[in-house]
């Protein structure tokens, strides 16, 4: 059996969806012509419940809505830019205003399709989905939480958007872990805390290690559920923090930093919040994810340097 850290985050998620579908004939999986290795088993074993709706996201969301309104448990899968934005109004009205338990899975977080240009850069999905009152939003940092989140999604009673990365990640969670809080303290809170989400949580942990080598001790929180944000996290952060750095692979507008800023604005506090995110730009540039991170100050070295500079002020 593979160790979690050797398992692609998508396989961890979709293997769990397969198990759920094997036990529940009401589960239907729709894909907008998007593949994943671990989906092939689903397609092979439950062909009538695996529907490729083709490159037609608006119809895909409508079909998902109609199925869910008739009692089906529906998962919808596509590239995050297309499955969140091309069919935004269909999601807003047909899923959210009806409060149907449709689970939308967006692949291609941040710059994971970096070479394909701004059409494929998943850097605004959270901001867009966050505008929908009924939508619960998750961003997953490793294979363990991917499996746990699939189980949670199967039981949801309202709309859910899950930002699903690709590749392998260090273990922060176990598949059987209770993730209902929507956040996890990976290093105990200090006066300086790094609050990160998704892919950037591994960067946050590496940054914390680099800072420790220079005798700077920081707390690290992974925020997996971006909406609704757990208010207990806000209380804990206010109780301990002087400075908070948010780390996200999302544009500055509307992502984790913005969410935390909004939450802190409702409480009296003297915390300095620094938001490390992707600038509000559309990148007509092509390169690897690592290249984009380096170019935008989101690689571990740049983050560490920036934090050192900010805390020494």
């Amino acid at each position: 059996m593979l160790k979690l850290a050797e398992l692609d985050i998508r396989d961890a998620f979709f293997d769990e969806i397969y198990r759920i579908a094997a036990a529940d004939k009401n589960v239907v999986f729709l894909t907008g012509d998007m593949d994943a290795f671990s989906l092939r088993k689903f397609k092979q074993d439950f062909p009538s419940r695996f529907i490729n709706t083709g490159v037609a996201e608006q119809n895909m969301i409508c079909v998902a809505s109609g199925l869910a309104a008739c009692g089906k448990k529906v998962f919808v899968y596509g590239i995050n830019t297309f499955v969140s934005m091309r069919c935004f109004e269909q999601i807003k009205i047909n899923i959210c205003s009806m409060n149907l338990p449709v689970v939308i899975i967006g692949a291609g977080a941040g710059f994971s399709f970096g070479f394909d240009g701004p059409t494929h850069h998943g850097t605004q999905d959270v901001a867009v989905m966050r505008a929908l009152p009924e939508m619960e939003i998750w961003n997953l940092a490793d294979a363990g939480i991917a499996a746990a989140c699939a189980k949670l999604a199967a039981k949801t009673t309202h709309p859910m958007y899950i930002r699903l990365d690709k590749g392998k990640f260090p273990d922060f969670y176990q598949p059987e872990e209770n993730i209902s809080a929507g956040f996890k303290l990976l290093k105990p809170l200090q006066k300086i805390n790094l609050v990160s989400t998704g892919f950037m949580t591994q960067q946050a942990m590496q940054t914390a290690q680099a800072l420790e080598l220079q005798s700077v001790s920081v707390g690290v929180v992974d925020v997996s559920r971006l909406k609704p944000l757990n208010q207990d996290l806000i209380k804990q952060l206010i109780a301990s923090s002087h400075k908070i750095f948010t780390l996200e692979e999302h544009c500055l507008t509307g992502g984790l930093g913005s969410i935390l800023n909004d939450a802190l604005a409702s409480h009296k506090n003297s915390i300095t919040l620094e938001r490390l995110a992707i600038p509000d730009l559309q990148f007509l540039a092509y390169g690897s994810r690592e290249w984009f991170h380096q170019s935008n100050g989101l690689d571990v070295q740049s983050i560490t340097n920036r934090i050192q500079k900010l805390i020494s002020r």
Partner: protein, 276 residues
């Protein structure tokens, strides 16, 4: 219900719609009147198998009025069929009231939230597919406007329905040939409209959307179709009131007192003729 009774019912619905719009100063009279006869056929001629006393019964036929702005005709039907009390019907157009200018599922009898066009045919595809998966006999009916067919999402759903063999899906296009600001002639999307649908794997039939004989005959064919079925109902926007018919301003205009008197007189004359 006999044809004459259906015509009487449609005349009664048109009167309720006129009075509600006049009383509240708001409503989409033109596009409501163009599809009134189709709606009356659906609800009174035994087409829709929906127990309106138990409108959420799982095996009911599904009906979505995609052009939700024609809701006043449905409210009138719900009033007549006892889903609404007269007090409930009077909530139309009242600030904070439960009956607005579009449909939502908090309104008893309404199947889905509507208001934005180009969505309902795809939702209907999902409902029809669920019926197939569960081996249920219910059918799904979607009533759209013709201007709505400019939304490309409609055509995504047209293709999906035929690909998945959804012969339990029945669409109706209220072809009244007018959008909010323009005439929709037989060019572009409407050129060879029926043939386009047939090429996409549907059965389609062009009917006079104000002839109950043609409407009922087409629904009979639709129910027994081996493919998804589209009724292309040629209609008249503002049908039933001479000065509103085919008048673009009657998309959502409210009659003046003088126009109201004239409209009432015309509807009365029609009702009297039908009662002979």
């Amino acid at each position: 219900m006999q044809i004459k009774q259906l015509q009487q019912k449609a005349a009664w619905v048109r009167r309720q719609v006129l009075e509600a719009i006049a009383a509240k100063g708001k409503g989409h009279i033109g596009g409501t009147y163009s599809c009134t006869d189709v709606l009356v056929a659906l609800y009174y001629a035994g087409i829709l198998r929906i127990d309106l006393k138990n409108p959420r019964q799982p095996d009911r036929d599904r009906f979505i009025l995609s052009k939700g702005h024609a809701c006043l005709a449905l409210y009138s039907i719900y009033l007549d069929q006892g889903i609404f009390t007269p007090e409930k019907f009077a909530e139309y157009g009242v600030d904070g009231g439960s009956l607005g200018g579009q449909l939502d599922i908090h309104i008893p009898g309404a199947e889905y939230n509507t208001g934005s066009l180009g969505h309902a045919l795809g939702i209907g595809c999902g409902m029809a597919l669920a019926a197939k998966m569960d081996e249920k006999k219910y059918k799904t009916y979607i009533l759209m406007g013709d201007a709505e067919c400019l939304e490309w999402s409609v055509w995504e759903s047209v293709m999906f329905a035929s690909e998945h063999g959804l012969n339990n899906l029945i669409g109706i296009v209220d072809r009244n040939r007018l959008s909010v600001t323009d005439v929709l002639d037989d060019e572009h999307v409407f050129r060879n409209f029926k043939e386009k649908l047939q090429m996409f794997g549907w059965n389609a039939q062009v009917i006079n959307g104000h002839s109950f004989e043609e409407i009922l005959s087409a629904f009979e064919a639709a129910k027994n179709s081996d493919k998804p079925f589209m009724l292309l109902a040629n209609t008249i926007k503002g049908k039933g009131i001479s000065f509103m018919e085919n008048g673009i301003k009657w998309h959502h205009s409210v009659p003046t007192p003088a126009e109201l008197d004239k409209a009432r007189a015309e509807l009365k004359k029609n009702e009297d003729a039908l009662s002979c």
